[in-house]
């Protein structure tokens, strides 16, 4: 990343992660639009591959490190100091490799031996961050405040953090995992009101949906229900995997839990920021959701 705080010229190597290319394409659209308006240059890493999610680690942990070292080596080749993501799990998987190899030369040598045939070497000179953290520690909340054109007054927001942006703290480490406040800081700055709800730090169940669907549905059903009971108009999350869980499965979860037909829309963090920056809902992909978003946020658009 190169930045000059005065004119906010900032540049990151961008690791979109798989879902932004397909199922969460609205997150790709909104991230790029918000970055453009804020003057943040995102240069997509040429040749990046999937971070392995949690799944490759369940089959071959060394492979997970190798593919993420490759991703980071590609960013290093582009001269990047910082790699930016917008997905919790991508952040965790990349940071795990980044931080584990920092303390373990043997592990890095082993990984680099695997990478040799690709002509790449992972040196460990890049730092992985998430948009949520970058806005606070690099861009600055004061600078973000100056860009707000449409304060989201009256909008009640349930901040659903998702696990992998806060845990485990030895690999995330941005804030106290027991009571993070970064989402509240940004959401409140945008003029919206954060509501406190029981499932603020709960798990959406995404990573075990194929083996534990019943329990996953209970997680989604309860998360949506507690957000609604707290009076939220919308759930906002920094993780596309959480967003997909709630957007795709909330209807079925409600049925299974007899929660009624009332659905609460779940949007991505850049979409909420984009609304406050004055970007139109269409330009933020807000019409691409399964659960209709516009009626729930209409009052903040006036």
């Amino acid at each position: 990343m190169e930045k000059q705080k005065g004119d906010k010229q900032m540049k990151y190597s961008f690791f979109p992660g798989c879902v932004l290319n397909d199922t969460a394409s609205e997150l790709m659209i909104s991230t790029k639009k918000v970055a453009e308006v804020l003057g943040i240059e995102l240069v997509e890493i040429d040749g990046w591959s999937c971070c392995g999610v949690s799944h490759t680690g369940d089959i071959n942990p060394m492979m997970t490190h190798t593919i993420n070292a490759r991703n980071l080596a590609l960013a290093e080749k582009m001269g990047a100091n910082k790699v930016l993501t917008v997905c919790n799990t991508c952040t965790l998987m990349l940071r795990k490799t980044e931080l584990k190899t920092k303390k373990n030369d043997k592990l890095r040598a082993e990984i680099n031996a695997s990478l040799e045939s690709t002509g790449l070497e992972y040196k460990g000179t890049t730092q992985v961050t998430h948009l949520l953290w970058a806005l606070i520690e690099d861009y600055g909340l004061e600078n973000l405040k100056e860009k707000i054109k449409r304060p989201l007054n009256g909008l009640k927001v349930a901040n659903y953090y998702g696990c992998h942006i806060i845990m485990p703290p030895k690999f995330t480490g941005f804030e106290n995992w027991r009571n993070p406040q970064s989402m509240e800081k940004i959401v409140d700055l945008l003029g919206a009101t954060s509501v406190d709800f029981e499932d603020r730090l709960s798990c959406c169940g995404y990573h075990a949906m194929s083996t534990s669907e019943k329990e996953g549905m209970r997680m989604i059903g309860q998360g949506a229900q507690t957000a609604k009971e707290a009076g939220a108009d919308v759930i906002v999350t920094p993780c596309p995997l959480c967003q997909m869980q709630f957007d795709d499965h909330q209807h079925s979860a409600n049925k299974q839990l007899s929660n009624g037909d009332n659905l609460i829309p779940v949007i991505h963090l850049p979409q909420l920021i984009g609304l406050a920056l004055g970007i139109t809902p269409e330009e933020l992909g807000l019409k691409k959701h399964t659960i209709e978003v516009i009626p729930a946020i209409e009052k903040a658009l006036k």
């Binding site: 369940d58 965790l92 485990p168 009571n179 075990a208 534990s212 329990e215 997680m219």
Partner: protein, 234 residues
């Protein structure tokens, strides 16, 4: 002087209620000091467990403002700083049967731990009589997982247990299964893996709460992944 407003979830075997207490703040005290002060000065009927006071016995787990802690190794200042409040709500650890107030029942958990054979079954290259030689690398595989003090904080935070119908094993039990499955002195990894599979090993949601809360910094979630992959076992 600052006052700490404490609300404790009570249970007398039949009824549940929240009871409020007020305690004058003192700097540099532990949570167990706070609970002891309430019991000694305000309410002798309050039940909680504590023993070693050094995070070794694992007897003093509770939930404070929704997050699980050992009361003996956690300072009052740390909790106040974390939650930016002087109001603390105490509840018994989650995913346990409650006996009284903050006291939970471990016996059913230990009964289920037997499913993963949490004891050494000597391999043929050594014996109880002659002993074993273990290399540094072999020891490193089980060093961290052996530090478990069975405090139950991982169980209390487990997202799968909170939603599961009862077949899923507790995270500390999976950790115990890994600890013996990975031990170079042990004869059989397969048995522990099969028992873990029957305990719904693949239902772990990778939320990382067990790893995050462990007072001994055991990467329990990673050990669960090792049991799944067979990596890092013998």
């Amino acid at each position: 002087m600052k006052t700490i407003f404490v609300s404790i979830k009570r249970f007398d075997g039949t009824n549940e209620w929240y009871q409020d207490y007020e305690v004058p703040y003192e700097k540099g005290k532990t949570i167990v000091w706070l609970l002891t002060k309430i019991r000694e000065e305000q309410d002798v009927t309050l039940n909680f467990t504590v023993s070693c006071l050094h995070a070794i016995c694992g007897a003093c787990g509770v939930k404070i403002n929704g997050s699980s802690y050992l009361t003996c190794s956690t300072t009052l200042d740390e909790v106040l700083e974390t939650f930016k409040t002087d109001k603390l709500t105490f509840e018994p650890m989650a995913n346990f049967k409650v006996i009284r107030d903050l006291v939970v029942e471990f016996d059913p958990k230990f009964e289920r731990m037997k499913e993963v054979s949490p004891w050494l079954k000597p391999a043929s290259h050594g014996s109880v009589e002659t002993g074993f030689k273990q290399s540094e690398t072999e020891f490193e595989k089980i060093s961290s997982s052996s530090n478990c003090i069975l405090c139950g904080l991982c169980t209390s935070e487990c997202e799968q247990l909170a939603k599961n119908d009862g077949r899923y094993l507790d995270p500390f039990i999976f950790n115990k299964a890994y600890r013996f499955a990975a031990d170079s002195r042990d004869a059989d990894s397969t048995e522990r893996i099969v028992a873990s599979l029957e305990g719904e090993l693949w239902k772990c949601v990778h939320c990382m709460k067990c790893t995050s809360v462990c007072p001994k910094e055991i990467d329990i979630a990673e050990n669960i992944a090792f049991l799944r992959s067979g990596y890092n076992l013998k």
